[in-house]
Subunit: 145 residues, 2 copies
């Protein structure tokens, strides 16, 4: 496949882990569709374990700088995910998809009220719907190339 | 007082409210020291209630653009607070103080591993210590003017 995109996948790793399965699902789907997910989950456990907080910060910023787009699971609150969304929109101006489980916590107005043209926010009810949303976003990205 | 600084105060308003008292304390202290806290808490209830999410997003971004610095309570996870920290550091490059209650949740590596020269991270044990940290940060800001 020669339409391979680099997709930074953001989701809570520390903190609120109630929606971590959806995050795993996003990463797996990006991979299955022939794209490259940029995420700590793609590292070996040894690699991930030996990274200091500074290593993680630098690596995540560099991954974001290489990424064609960011997909973020935002059903739970997270300082890191909020940070990455703002960095992607304001410093890099790359497309951002925020996906959120229907009936999860009330979302920050910095996301729901954000009228950046680069930002798409979608709610999902099921894993199947989540797959569909991510697939469409990636398809649109490919056709915009 | 003619050293009045505009300080954007960030803290969880939706979501995890366990540390909201510390946020109130920061806002009150900034005010008592003769500076201007930029925060929804300074608005009347009617003004705050009638703002749509788009109004909030735009208002908060404009406040950040006017601010001399950002003080953020980061003891709990929050997409909005993470967003504001990244915007302040990367889009505005203004000084940011993150304060965090000792023994609160593990903090994101996007904060703890962040080696931006504009970022200061401090832990507090008591309300008195929190006051001291914020006072020193504001004093340093004034002497840098």
């Amino acid at each position: 496949m020669n339409h391979s995109l680099k997709i930074y996948c953001a989701g809570p790793i520390r903190g609120d882990l109630r929606h971590v399965e959806s995050y795993y699902q996003i990463v797996a789907l990006v991979w299955q569709l022939g794209h490259t997910p940029l995420t700590e989950l793609a590292l070996s456990e040894t690699e991930a374990a030996k990274a200091s907080d500074k290593d993680i910060f630098l690596r995540d910023l560099q991954w974001l700088q290489q990424a064609d787009a960011l997909v973020a699971e935002v059903s739970g609150p997270s300082l890191g995910v909020g940070y990455e969304i703002a960095y992607a929109l304001h410093a890099l101006t790359i497309p951002v998809l925020c996906v959120r489980k229907h009936s999860s916590n009330e979302l920050s107005a910095m996301i729901t009220g954000n009228f950046s043209r680069q930002l798409t926010i979608k709610e999902y009810l099921s894993g199947q719907e989540l797959d569909q949303i991510v697939k469409e976003f990636l398809k649109d990205l490919e056709s915009d190339r």
